[in-house]
C-alpha cells in the first residue's frame, strides 16, 4: 500500500503537521518563549537553576577573535562536543572523542586538524547553522559517555531519547539510534532508527527506519525486543520538570543517558516533529485529549509522571508479544 487512508489515520489518532502547528504549537507555545529553547545556553542556565542535569559546559565563544583562544580552551580536554548555540535539528554539531598530537579524532575515526575545528567554529559564529542565518555563538560541552545498555544499539553517535511533554505530562517517547545510513546522526528522515518506548515501562515497543518497521538495529543486528531504557522514572521526571522551566505546553525534550551521571537534558524543542507516532505505532491525539481533559495541571512533576505511566502505558507490545509486567508492578518498580 502506497498511501494510507485519512479514515485510518484519524481512527488511530495520528496528528498531522497542520493539526500540530494549529492545535499544539499555536495553542500551547507562545512565541515569546521560543528563545528559551532556541538558545541552548539559556536553556542550559535555566536547567541548572532548576536543578536539572545537563552536560557540563566547557566554554563558549561569541566573537570571531575568540577563535584564536580555541587551542588553549581545548587543550585541557581530550573529548568534547562543539555546538552552535542556536542550531536546530542537530546541525553543526562536531564531536571529538580523542586528542592526540594536534590531531582531533571524530567518532568515525577520521582525524581533523585544529584548523578544521577553527573553521567549523567560525562558520557557526557567522550563523551558518543557526535559525535564519543570524550570527551565533559556540558552546563547547563535555562529551557524554555512552551507557552500556545502548552500546549494542548505536552506530557512532550516542542514542538520544525524545520525550513529548504536553502541559507537563510526558505523553510519548522515542529512542533515536544513529545508523550507518544516517551517517551517525539521529535524524529519522536521514535513516536513523526510531524506537517507540513504552511510557509505562521504558521498554521498546516498535521500531521504524524510513517509516517501515524494523526488528533489529540495521548495523549491529541486535534485536530491539530486549531493549529497555534504564533510569526510566528519573528520565520521565526530568522531562516533566522542563514544563515548569520553560512554560512551553508542547515540548520535545531530548535526553541522553550518561554512563556516569545518568539521564541529562541536552536540548529542548518547541516544534517537535511527528515521526514519534510512526515509531510508537500510535497517534498522539488520544493522549493529547486525555491531558486536555484534565481540569488542572498537577504542579508536582513526579505525580504527573505517575499519571502518565498509568494512562499512557502500552496495552500491547508489538515486538514483545508477552506482557511481563502489569501497569501496577511497573509503576511500583520504578519507584525503587
Amino acid at each position: 500500500m502506497f498511501l494510507t487512508s485519512v479514515k485510518r489515520l484519524r481512527s488511530m489518532g495520528i496528528i498531522g503537521m497542520n493539526q500540530r502547528n494549529f492545535g499544539l504549537i499555536g495553542r500551547y507555545n507562545p512565541r515569546h518563549l521560543y528563545p528559551l529553547v532556541d538558545d541552548k545556553l539559556k536553556t542550559k542556565r535555566l536547567a541548572q537553576e532548576a536543578g536539572i542535569t545537563v552536560p557540563q559546559l566547557l566554554g563558549t565563544l561569541h566573537y570571531h577573535h575568540d577563535v584564536k583562544q580555541l587551542k588553549d580552551m581545548l587543550s585541557a580536554y581530550s573529548q568534547f562536543v562543539i555546538k552552535p548555540v542556536k542550531g536546530s535539528g542537530g546541525k553543526g554539531i562536531l564531536v571529538i572523542t580523542e586528542q592526540d598530537h594536534n590531531l582531533y579524532y571524530k567518532p568515525s575515526g577520521d582525524a581533523v586538524k585544529l584548523s578544521h575545528i577553527e573553521r567549523h567554529v567560525s562558520n557557526i559564529l557567522s550563523g551558518l547553522h543557526s535559525l535564519g542565518g543570524k550570527p551565533d555563538s559556540v558552546m563547547i560541552e563535555s562529551l557524554i559517555q555512552i551507557d552500556p545498555v545502548f552500546a549494542d544499539y548505536s552506530y557512532e553517535g550516542i542514542p538520544d531519547l525524545r520525550v513529548i511533554v504536553l502541559k507537563g505530562y510526558p505523553i510519548m517517547a522515542m529512542l533515536r539510534l544513529a545508523t550507518h545510513a544516517s551517517d551517525g546522526r539521529a535524524n529519522l528522515h536521514q535513516g536513523a532508527v526510531g524506537v517507540g518506548i513504552d511510557i509505562g515501562t521504558g521498554e521498546a515497543l516498535h521500531a521504524v527506519q524510513y517509516g517501515d518497521p524494523v526488528y533489529f538495529h540495521p548495523d549491529t543486528r541486535k534485536p530491539f525486543s530486549n531493549l529497555t531504557v534504564p533510569h526510566w522514572n528519573k528520565l520521565l521526571e526530568l522531562a516533566a520538570a522542563c514544563y515548569e522551566m520553560t512554560n512551553l505546553g508542547y515540548l520535545g525534550v531530548d535526553i541522553v543517558l550518561d554512563r556516569d551521571q545518568g539521564p541529562m537534558i541536552i536540548e529542548l524543542n518547541a516544534r517537535p516533529g511527528l515521526s514519534i507516532q510512526v515509531a510508537n505505532f500510535a497517534g498522539l491525539a488520544p493522549r493529547v485529549a486525555i491531558v486536555e481533559a484534565l481540569e488542572d495541571i498537577n504542579p508536582d512533576p513526579q505525580s504527573r509522571v505517575q499519571f502518565s505511566k498509568r494512562n499512557f502505558a502500552a496495552v500491547r507490545n508489538l515486538i514483545r508479544p508477552r506482557r511481563r509486567r502489569t501497569h501496577h508492578t511497573a509503576s511500583a518498580l520504578s519507584f525503587s
Partner: protein, 516 residues
C-alpha cells in the same frame, strides 16, 4: 470557539465584499468576466484641404450623426490658428465650423473620430418624417425620357420599395437602351447618378434623400464618401445602394450625413476637398468600458489602477499576479505538504519563468544552480566566512550567467539570453541554501526540496500565465479579497496533508495500536 467564529465572520465579510465588487463591475459597469471579448474600434480621420486667398475663411463641415448603436469614444478637431465651434447640437445634423480672419495658401483641417458598435442597442432606421417630394425642373427631352422609363419600371412594381429597386437596377443595366443612356450620362460622376435617382423618385412622388457614408475598411486612405439613396415608403426609411439596387445598410458602413445639405462648405477658399482615412484597432471590451468609465467618472474606475500611468499599470499587472502565486504556495504546503526551499522562493522562480518561458527557464535554472553548487562545494573548502562566501557565490552566479549568455549567443540560441531575468540574489541564495542542505542533510533532501520548489514554481507559473487568470487579476483586483478569504480559510485547515498519507503509510499496515 470564539476566535474561529470571529475569523469566519471576517472571511465571509471579505468574501462578499470581493464577490460583490466583482459582480458590480461586471453587471453595472459592463466589465466582461472573460478576456476574449474583443471589439473593433474604427479610427476615422477626415482631412479637409483648400486653398485660401487672403480673405476671411469659414469652413463648415458635416459630422456623422450620433446614433444609439454607436459609441463615440473620441472626437478631435485640429487646425492651426483657426477658431472652432460646433454649430448645432442636434444629434442628427451635426456641423462643425472653423473660421479665421485671414488665411493664405494651402490650409488643412482635421477631424478625427474613434467609434465602435456597442451592443446595447440594435441598429434602427431613422424615424424622422420625410419632406414632401419636390418636382424637379427638367428640360423637355429629359422629362420625356424620364417618364418613359418610369412607365416601364412602374409596370413591374407594386410598392415604393420594389419600384426603387427596379428603377436603380434598370438605370444600372449593363445593356442600356437609348433612353437609359440619355438619362444616365456615363461620363458624369456618382453625384450625378444620385441626383438622377432622386429626381426620378420625385417625379414618381416618392420622398427620398441622399445618404453619404463611409465603408469602413482597415488601412484605407484618401477614401471618398459613398452615396446611398434612402426612400420613405410611407412608414419607414429604406436605404438603397445606388449601384446595385440592394436595400439595407451594408455591414461596416458608417453613415456620415443624411439629406441634401452639403458635406463641406468653404467660404474664402477654393479647391476644397475632403478625404478620409480609416484604421481599425482591436480593443478589448474592457478597455472600452474603462474609457467610458473614465469619462462618466464612475468612482470605482476613477480611483483604480486604471488611473495610473500605463507604465505603472504594467508593473501592477505583475504584482497583482503574486497573490495567485501565494495561494498556490499555501495550497502546496498546507494541503499537499510539498517541502520547498524557502517559503516564497517558488513565486520568485515563477516570476522569472514568466519572463523566460517555461522550458528555457527551467533548463537555465537547473544549469545555473547545478554549476553554482559545484563551484560552491569548491568554495566551501577555501575556509571562508559566510558573508564572503555568499558574496563569492553571487559573483560566480553572475559569471555563469554571463558565460551562458555569450556561449548561447555564439551558438545562435537566443532563448538562453533570457537568463538575465532570473534575479541574481535569488539564484545565489538558492545555491547557498542548497549547498548547506547538501552538506547537512545529504543530496536526497536537496533533491526533494529542489524538486518541490520547482514543481510549485511551475504550477504557480501555469496559473500566473493563464490568460484568464492574468485578465481577472488585473481587471478585478477585488479578486485579491476572495484570494485572501481563501487563504484565511486554508489557514484553519488542520486535516492531514496529502504527503502525510504517505509519511504515515506504515500505520495502515496492521491493525494494532496502543491507544486507550
Amino acid at each position: 470557539m470564539h476566535a474561529s467564529a470571529r475569523l469566519y465572520t471576517v472571511v465571509i465579510l471579505i468574501l462578499f465584499t470581493g464577490i460583490g465588487l466583482i459582480l458590480y463591475k461586471h453587471l453595472a459597469l459592463g466589465f466582461p468576466l472573460m478576456p476574449d471579448e474583443k471589439k473593433f474600434v474604427w479610427t476615422i480621420e477626415a482631412k479637409i484641404d483648400f486653398q485660401a486667398h487672403g480673405e476671411p475663411v469659414i469652413v463648415s463641415f458635416a459630422l456623422p450623426p450620433k446614433e444609439p448603436h454607436l459609441t463615440f469614444m473620441e472626437e478631435d478637431f485640429a487646425s492651426s490658428d483657426y477658431g472652432f465651434s460646433e454649430l448645432s447640437s442636434d444629434e442628427e445634423q451635426r456641423r462643425v465650423q472653423w473660421s479665421k480672419r485671414s488665411a493664405q495658401g494651402a490650409q488643412t483641417a482635421y477631424y478625427r473620430l474613434s467609434v465602435y458598435e456597442n451592443d446595447k442597442m440594435i441598429e434602427s432606421p431613422p424615424s424622422d418624417d420625410p419632406l414632401p417630394p419636390q418636382k424637379p425642373e427638367l428640360d423637355e427631352v429629359f422629362l420625356t425620357a424620364s417618364l418613359t422609363l418610369l412607365e416601364t419600371v412602374r409596370a413591374k412594381s407594386a410598392n415604393p420599395e420594389i419600384f426603387t429597386r427596379e428603377l436603380i437596377q434598370t438605370l444600372n443595366s449593363p445593356s442600356p437602351n437609348q433612353n437609359q443612356r440619355l438619362l444616365r450620362n456615363d461620363k458624369a460622376g456618382e453625384n450625378y447618378k444620385t441626383d438622377l435617382i432622386l429626381n426620378l423618385l420625385a417625379l414618381e412622388g416618392i420622398s427620398a434623400r441622399v445618404v453619404r457614408g463611409l465603408f469602413l475598411e482597415d488601412g484605407r486612405r484618401r477614401q471618398p464618401l459613398t452615396n446611398f439613396v434612402e426612400i420613405h415608403d410611407g412608414q419607414k426609411w429604406i436605404i438603397f445602394n445606388q449601384d446595385t439596387g440592394k436595400s439595407g445598410k451594408p455591414k461596416n458602413f458608417l453613415i456620415w450625413q443624411r439629406g441634401g445639405q452639403s458635406l463641406l462648405d468653404v467660404i474664402g477658399g477654393k479647391n476644397s476637398q475632403v478625404s478620409f482615412s480609416i484604421i481599425q484597432n482591436i480593443h478589448s471590451t474592457r478597455n472600452l468600458v474603462v474609457n467610458s468609465g473614465m469619462h462618466t467618472q464612475a468612482g470605482l474606475i476613477d480611483f483604480s489602477i486604471y488611473s495610473l500611468p500605463i507604465e505603472q499599470q504594467t508593473a501592477f499587472k505583475m504584482i497583482l499576479l503574486l497573490p495567485i502565486g501565494a495561494l498556490i504556495v499555501v495550497i502546496m504546503r498546507i494541503l499537499v505538504g510539498i517541502r520547498t526551499s524557502g517559503t516564497f522562493m517558488p513565486i520568485l522562480i515563477a516570476l522569472a519563468l514568466i519572463q523566460t518561458t517555461l522550458v528555457t527557464g527551467i533548463v537555465i535554472f537547473l544549469i545555473v544552480v547545478s554549476t553554482g553548487l559545484l563551484i560552491r562545494s569548491y568554495l566551501s573548502r577555501l575556509n571562508l566566512l559566510l558573508v564572503a562566501r555568499i558574496s563569492a557565490v553571487i559573483i560566480v552566479v553572475i559569471a555563469i550567467i554571463a558565460s551562458i549568455s555569450i556561449i548561447s549567443h555564439k551558438l545562435g540560441l537566443s532563448q538562453a539570453l533570457q537568463v538575465t531575468f532570473f534575479p541574481m540574489i535569488i539564484l545565489a541564495w538558492t545555491i547557498e541554501r542548497m549547498s548547506i542542505l547538501w552538506e547537512e542533510d545529504g543530496p536526497r533532501e536537496v533533491f526533494i526540496q529542489g524538486a518541490g520548489s520547482l514543481l510549485t514554481a511551475v504550477i504557480a507559473y501555469l496559473f500566473m500565465t493563464n490568460r484568464t487568470v492574468e485578465y481577472l487579476t488585473f481587471n478585478f483586483p477585488e479578486l485579491m479579497l476572495v484570494n485572501l478569504a481563501l487563504i484565511l480559510i486554508l489557514g484553519q485547515y488542520t486535516g492531514y496533508r496529502l504527503t502525510e498519507l504517505y509519511r504515515f503509510h506504515s500505520m495502515g499496515r496492521h491493525h494494532v495500536s496502543d491507544k486507550r
